[in-house]
């Protein structure tokens, strides 16, 4: 059993996943009617792009050995509030600015709770996510679904824009990928995130600005959630806050783990996010075409996630010697 995992491990995980992705794509192309149509491929790309943008945010946090469970709540509420402000005939600039301030504040709150109050990220972000959703729904929004008021042609035009027939969200996703790659690889803040994820105490002792960087990482992920939400709203001219209760958040975590960004932190990068996004995007799309009910979709996704977590645990033990003791 371990031998098999090791075989997987020798080859890098993302290569294996990439292979799986191609296999899945080919299988769906041959087996599924309506999979390999222009319409579906475009739909596929659009949904992949949204998932991917969120996964970049989650990925950055996970590399820093955190996790952001407030991502989808931020996406939904920030954009819903933004649309609501437009509905109250605020100028778009002001509305955007207000929403942005809120998003940054929530991201910073996540960071402060984990870095300064030293709460476990999983609880802190769960709490802020619930808080944001509760606050938004009770104080600012009167319905679940907020529609884009008429007269914002620029915004809808953005949603329908094509660059050489590539949907705008795909273009944005590509830009974000390139940006994230450069930032993680070549900026010192990117390196800090890897170092903090690898060994927080060593990073602190070395004199790295550990806590500010943790705050930064949550602010970045909140901003990416906002961007994903804006794109979503621009496409369908509304924001349904019930998305918070959907399985989107788990899909995002699935992408990150499947792609091979170990939950133990300090590892992985944009390449992992791309293959993870593609695999999960294709899987979700194919299951929708197959008309598999949500119940079974969730079952399948949960199985894949569990398998990925197990592989992750085997491939990326926190401590090789502890792991090799075999009795822990």
């Amino acid at each position: 059993m371990t031998g098999w995992f090791l075989l997987l491990g020798r080859r890098r995980q993302e290569d294996t996943v990439f292979l799986l992705t191609i296999l899945l794509f080919l299988t769906f192309s041959f087996v599924l009617h309506g999979f390999l149509t222009t319409g579906n491929i475009i739909a596929l790309l659009r949904s992949v792009a949204l998932l991917g943008i969120l996964a970049v945010g989650m990925g950055i946090v996970v590399i820093g050995r955190g996790i952001d469970l407030s991502l989808v709540a931020i996406l939904a509420i920030s954009v819903a509030v933004f649309l609501n402000l437009l509905g109250q005939s605020y100028p778009i600039g002001i509305a955007l600015l207000l929403a942005l301030v809120g998003v940054i504040a929530v991201g910073a709150l996540n960071g402060v709770l984990t870095a300064y109050a030293e709460m476990p990220a999983i609880f802190a972000t769960l709490a802020t996510g619930t808080f944001v959703y509760g606050l938004g729904r009770s104080q600012f929004l009167t319905q679940d679904v907020i529609y884009l008021p008429p007269g914002h042609d620029l915004f809808t035009a953005f949603g329908n824009a094509r660059l050489a027939s590539i949907p705008v969200e795909v273009v944005v996703f590509a830009f974000i990928l390139v940006g994230a790659f450069l930032w993680l690889r070549f900026s010192k803040y990117g390196r800090y995130i890897y170092l903090i994820g690898d060994n927080l105490n060593a990073a602190r002792n070395a004199g790295l600005p550990v806590r500010p960087v943790i705050v930064l990482q949550y602010v970045v992920s909140a901003l990416l959630a906002f961007v994903a939400g804006l794109i979503m709203a621009a496409g369908i001219h509304s924001m349904n806050t019930r998305i918070v209760n959907s399985s989107l958040l788990y899909d995002v975590i699935l992408v990150v783990v499947i792609g091979g960004i170990g939950l133990s932190g300090g590892k992985g990068g944009v390449r992992n996010l791309i293959v993870g996004t593609l695999l999960i995007g294709i899987l979700l799309n194919g299951m929708t075409i197959l008309d598999i009910s949500d119940l079974y979709q969730n079952l399948i996704k949960a199985t894949v996630l569990l398998a990925a977590l197990i592989v992750d645990g085997v491939l990326n033990p926190r401590d090789e010697q502890t792991d090799q003791q075999g009795d822990i």
Partner: protein, 499 residues
Amino acid sequence: MSALIEMRKIAKSYRGAVALKDVDFTLEEGEIHALVGENGAGKSTLTKIMAGAVEADGGTMLFAGEPVAFRAPAEALAAGIAMVFQETSLVPSMTVAQNLYLGDEPFLSRLRGVQVAAQQFLQSLNFTVDPGALVSTLGAAKRQMVEIARAVRLRARVIIFDEPTATLTPEEKRYFFALLRRLKARGVSIVFISHALEEALRISDRITILRDGGLVTTGETPSFTRDSIIAAMVGRVLSGELYRKRDDIAGLRRAGDKALSVQDVSMGNIVRNNAFSLFYAQVTGIFGLIGSGRTETAKIIAGIYKRDFVRGGEIERDGQPIRYRVPRQAMQDGIVYVTEDRKLEGFFETKSIAENLYSGYLAAGLNRSVVVSMREMARLAETWRKTLNIRALESNERVVELSGGNQQKVVIGKSLVQKPRIIIFDEPTRGVDVGAIAEIHALIGGLADEGLAVIVISSYLPEIMNLSDRILVFRQGRCVEEFSPAEVDEERIMYAAVH
């Protein structure tokens, strides 16, 4: 006597780079067998193969006459081979007792029962560890004790110790050696890796020497001397005594300006009203037993721990009062602490040597722009690899894959990159081979000659005597006495530390 373990032509490569080649090794029933060699010679790798933590690429191993090939430590353990690793493998969030009985707690384990059993067991070994304490709150020495106790408890026929004494004080070492003899009397065979050659000579029955992944020689201990071992280890004769006593006052560095003044510093009941001064251009050695508050005091100075807010005392750097909230502030003021626990808080295990060194550079703000400089990273790696003689099989090897001694050098390099003015070394030569100890000592002396204020904390008296221009002795959370190395002997220091 008959051979309990017999290894023939053992080979191991990592991604094409040879770590072991054609090594033969035999362990007799009931012997203490010392394994020595330079950093990276392959000692840990060979013993990990014995204990099933690493699989060999070639060669055969017989255990009690039967051919075996362990694929996991659990298999070796079941067969009767236990290993105490070089880096600790305890679960920090559990108590000592839980760690001791990890893996075979009675079903529905009662915490109390385990604790009582652990207490009795630890007492029978003469180990002074509180079974109810969380491992994360223990110092390195006590952690090592727990690990040793765990291996002993498993009643293995073979126990492998990878540098067990590196973290122990002289007193604890005596206990440990007595324990080894008791185990031997019970018929347990012991493999014992150490860089302290006197220990190997004193305790072992036979010695095996490795160099660059190959076997140099095996023989009865009486046939070796310290010098002959060193010659075999490094392949040439090293001249000069490693630990000389400095008995002329003229050879000591004179104190420069006052760098730090520590007054009445307290933290809980670990550091109590501690007071001393530190001067530039000098090496100040700090000696004390475990629990004397030396590491804690050092960490307070470097901003890693915070002293008590009320009645916590004063610390002045260059006459300015300081109170750091985070190590970053201390680092920016030129104060750097080199940890004794490299794995837990010293290096970034999944990163390369270059990146580890570069992390220090980045933290110190030496990289002006936001964009990292790959060229600078490569240059740092180049320079420090030479200066500290860091050896890896491949240049981009992850630090976790380096041999223990080389990891230590990376941790030292990473701190020196930051160009500190006050530097605190906590057990700087732990796990480092004899040749490298001399190099690191020369380096530390050189820092003082350049005008830095240097503190060396060590449990090893000869190291303190050799390096220091001034010796402070800590006991029960405070500095109790100051000596000049020219006028004191080891007994008096030890006496001050204990009484």
